[in-house]
Chain length 243, copies 2
Amino acid sequence: MSQNIYDRSEFFEGYSRLGRSVQGLDGAAEWPALRALLPELGGRRVVDLGCGFGWFCRHAREAGAASVLGLDLSENMLARARVDTADPAITYARADLETLNLPEGGFDFAYSSLTLHYVEALARLFGVVHRALAPGGAFLFSAEHPIFTAPSAPGWSVDPAGRKVWPVDGYLEEGPRRTDWLTKGVIKQHRSIGTYLNLLIAQGFGIAHVQEWGPSDAQIAEKPVLADERLRPAFLLVAARRN
Amino acid sequence: MSQNIYDRSEFFEGYSRLGRSVQGLDGAAEWPALRALLPELGGRRVVDLGCGFGWFCRHAREAGAASVLGLDLSENMLARARVDTADPAITYARADLETLNLPEGGFDFAYSSLTLHYVEALARLFGVVHRALAPGGAFLFSAEHPIFTAPSAPGWSVDPAGRKVWPVDGYLEEGPRRTDWLTKGVIKQHRSIGTYLNLLIAQGFGIAHVQEWGPSDAQIAEKPVLADERLRPAFLLVAARRN
């Protein structure tokens, strides 16, 4: 059973106040990059692993998806997601990605936003997703970037020349990282980019695109605080295909 | 024309004293990992981009390669490589990887060790390599890892808790990095892992394996100073296939 931080009231209240929770996809700075990697969704059967408040599920339907299954561990998030739509082609269900099963060939596109760095049994999950996709199906996910998850003390520091730097250690020591984010003791799974990609390849996926996300010049002009996010990538975006 | 640091006497003398220059492949800590990613070489036509002293070219022939073409920009290195073998199936030639041309379909395997981070026109070179490989051909390379090349001040520092850390900045600012290594003003090209992989994919390669290299426990036991190399990866190893 996964750690269910989103159903802790302290975490859920903090998370609900984030830009991405209030404004939806447009409140997530990496959304334009993810959107650019989406396949054509018209008529497709979509599954969203870690759907949260359901923003992407509703987007997929607006983009013409035939059906969308949104999965999440958090009852709180699913409850709000259900309130926010009456679309009968969107189904929300509670699921633990550590033990998930999906119908074979039941989907054309699998999506996951900032969820997989919580999953311990990632090889298993990639296998489940691969089998759940019809041949030619696509898988797009974002996760916290390994440079972001690696450090024993994640946070900016200033070097002797006054430059802001991100102090990397432990990069090749994969495994749990305990951090305080909105609540104490959030457990994330650190793994290298190589591991993410090799696990996909081992399950039969072809790698289509790998993006280490940073804000565009236009995004920085609009919101200057984002400039730091070019010093080290916070997010890893991967597009893969079922061959 | 590329910067030809290997033909500066100061650099060449320093480089010639490194373990990997004196002991050959076994003097390079990442060699066991690279070797594990090699395809079967028996009967194959091999090209080595940045062959240096020719250690890999000779290895490929010992492993049964039908022919080996070793390419390097450095006259110094090619001169020593030529002295070290009389094998008529090994050819050494001077080449600038920025402007290289290779015969189409002329090779079954392309290899490059710690050279591509010097190459500016990498998309062009990946295209040349792709066309030079017969269908099903393989490409294996190592390069300095982007975490290693990114910083404006590359070098270990110590955090307030006394931990050794690698201060990352500039990760998403791709382009030249000027460093002092064996000689002053060595120019390297920093690019993200995503860029390396997407350039390969754009040229038609399939990604077969991505390894962010660190020493094994056995290597650290034998040479404890290597332990730091697990804090942040120094090398990126990529295996790709011509589809």
